[in-house]
């Protein structure tokens, strides 16, 4: 066993008699399956975390143990054996394929269909990217530019080391460790994620993307992201989960917290394409994610845009707490469920401050045996004079075996609030398909064109390159949906 292994971790491993044990390289270590306090201590020790963070994790773990998985959603899956999961894995890139030649051709074919540039394909496939392009210099230029602007963008582990006071001040301040079952689990065992801090008055000079970081570190299945914009600061963050995972029914329980102080603005865009499982529902990611933004300051603005095409099950409600007066929350969503995919997704807009405004545009597409639920809450508190919400939920059905459900909840405690809700459900008509085919488009191209048209209001909220990718993704995900 390597001398690099921290004593605590070695104890755990020794006790569990994990046959393969550690390789000598600390970077490729994997904890054996199972979860108890010692595992959490081991993770924390491995990451050389300060005592307060370990305490925070342990407290979350204690809460989690007293909780039960949420049963209110429409999604169905067999109970998860949390003792069968390994909670720490930091594969070294050299463990992955050495070059694109070694990568599963099917995977490459998918990337090609998506139009992802070769170096990104390589990164997504886990190829050591520096063999393909000079990631070091790219990363360096990019980091220098951000540092010049005073923006901190790093992994959250690094932030814990470099800026513990910032992390401590904001971590768990939006999604408390005991918020819900999966958030509690994440708080106990999170291994990595992103940290962004944009100081007062600074507009982040570039769009930040997880693509940049994927080269550096492989984030785990319990990632934790924290984005803070001080007064007058703004940032656009792109989360690309376009790597189709090869694992079977893997649990992905992430937490994302956004904090916007006075006049700050955060735009968070996600294109999620985790492995959805096969046509019969075998395999696929359980994507149980808690995302919440706190419009803490007056006139702050948080906007979530998500395109959810992957995962076997999506359970996710990116929300905004509109605490500051005149703050704005937005949620633009496209969720697709094909084959046996299940999506229970939506948002919560909690209006606390005066003249707070929120917009919800949710587009659900169901095909095959896919099942889809929009679940939303618009709550107007007793102080939220002049609050306004506009909600629009549209469902598109392809075929006759899929389902769409809309469950909007409104709670209003102020008489001056103005709340609007519109909902439609439509089916791709034979008329529409025939019309496009009679113009020369193949059946699948016709379906994809209709679906993209349906999603246009959401796609136009995405940064350009993401919008292109999202459209391509929808087409790939819908292959075989008709005919």
């Amino acid at each position: 066993m390597s001398n690099n292994v921290p004593a605590e971790l070695a104890t755990v491993l020794g006790r569990r008699e994990y046959a393969p044990g550690f390789t000598t390289d600390i970077e490729s270590e994997t904890l054996p399956p199972g979860l108890d306090e010692s595992v959490i201590r081991a993770i924390s020790a491995r990451k050389k975390e300060p005592e307060w963070l370990l305490e925070w994790r342990l407290e979350a773990f204690a809460r989690w143990q007293a909780m039960t998985p949420p049963a209110w959603s429409k999604v169905q899956y067999p109970p998860i054996d949390y003792q069968a999961i390994s909670y720490y894995s930091a594969p070294r890139s050299s463990d992955g394929p050495k070059s694109l030649d070694e990568v599963d051709p099917k995977l490459l074919e998918t990337y090609e269909k998506l139009g992802i540039p070769v170096h990104e394909r390589a990164a997504l496939a886990g190829v050591a990217v520096d063999m393909v392009f000079d990631s070091v210099s790219v990363a360096t230029t990019f980091k220098q530019k951000l540092a010049d602007a005073g923006v901190i963008f790093s992994s959250i582990s690094e932030a814990v080391q470099e800026h513990p006071e910032l992390v401590r001040a904001y971590l768990g301040s939006v999604v408390p460790s005991g918020d819900n079952y999966y958030a509690a689990l994440n708080s106990a065992v999170f291994t990595d994620g992103s940290f962004v801090f944009v100081p007062k008055g600074v507009t982040c000079p570039m769009e930040l993307s997880t693509y940049f970081r994927i080269n550096e570190r492989n984030t785990g299945q319990f990632e934790r992201t924290l984005i803070v914009c001080e007064d007058g600061a703004s940032v656009s963050y792109l989360e690309g989960c376009t790597a189709p995972m090869r694992d079977e029914n893997q649990l992905h329980a992430a937490v994302v917290e956004l904090v916007a102080l006075e006049d700050a603005s955060i735009k968070y865009s996600t294109v999620q394409n985790w492995y959805p499982g096969d046509e019969n529902g075998k395999g696929g990611i359980y994507n149980f994610v808690t995302k919440r933004g706190d419009c803490r300051g007056a006139r702050s603005h948080i906007s979530w845009t998500q395109v959810e095409t992957g995962s076997a099950i999506t359970w996710k409600y990116p929300s905004c707490i509109l605490r500051g007066d005149d703050s704005i929350g937005e949620f633009y969503s496209v969720a697709l469920s094909h084959h046996r995919q299940q999506a229970d997704t939506g948002t919560k807009m909690i209006h606390l401050g005066r003249n707070t405004r929120s917009t919800i545009i949710a587009k659900g597409i169901s095909a095959g045996h896919g099942d889809q639920t929009y679940r939303g809450l618009v709550r107007v508190g007793p102080r939220a004079e002049g609050a306004r919400n506009y909600t629009q939920c549209d469902s598109l059905l392809i075929g006759s075996d899929c389902g769409a459900h809309t469950l909007p909840v409104v709670e209003c405690a102020h008489p001056s609030a103005r709340l609007e809700h519109e909902a439609t459900t439509s089916r791709i008509g034979e008329d529409q398909l025939h019309y496009l085919r009679s113009r020369g488009l193949g059946e699948e191209e016709a379906v994809s064109m209709i679906v993209n048209g349906f999603c246009r209001e959401v796609f136009r909220e995405l940064p350009m390159e993401f919008a292109v990718e999202a459209q391509a993704l929808l087409s790939v995900s819908l292959e075989g949906a008709v005919g």
């Binding site: 034979e430 025939h434 019309y435 085919r437 009679s438 113009r439 064109m449 209709i450 349906f454």
Partner: protein, 252 residues
Amino acid sequence: MSSLLEISDLHAEVDGTPILKGLSLTLGAGEVHAVMGPNGSGKSTLAQVLSGREDYEVTAGSIRFDGVDLLDMEPEERAIAGLFLGFQYPVEIPGVSNLNLLKAALNARAKARGEEEPAAATLLGRVREAAASLNISNEMLKRGVNEGFSGGEKKRNEILQMLVLEPRLAVLDETDSGLDIDAIRVVSQGINSLRDPQRSVLLITHFQRLLDHITPDRVHILVDGAIQASGGPELAQELEAEGYARYAPQPA
């Protein structure tokens, strides 16, 4: 002259009800023919069968397009081969702009022919020119296909697509219905501008008024699923005066 479209003894049904009962019609390259008939005579069924609509079942007969068996082809293959249907009731496709649809349609043709996709600027120029001739504004081009269009706007939009796609055979199903006099003139000009020795038009209409603006080479009277009479443009005039009564099927 070689025939572009040759329909022989065509029988077709919808949901088990026979609609076309032995329709035969031959259309030469460069010709404009009108098919006239009362409601329920099978006019629209003919148009839908030509375009390859799935719910219309051909039970007997044949259709040859430029010497090839049309019934063997998928709707998109027919389109790429040069067949265009101007729909009687064009559908709305929300969020898909007209420009986008035209681009995809032209790209599909280029791909099938192994040609390069037309450059965006070329496409835009071509669409704008055709649109201007039909009084279609740039704003309409950017809107979703037929989204919120009036009946007349939808018909003009069909003609726009026809002009841009330059089909060898345009089948126009009651393109004149729902158009006012001015719109009929604009649409007719559009159709006339397409006429050349290589292109043919099959006008399907209930009324003679469109034929005041487009002089057909031949007129066919369709009643009860079959062509009852064919003749020159004067046949349409007669019909206007006398109605379809004399072509009504005789009681058995």
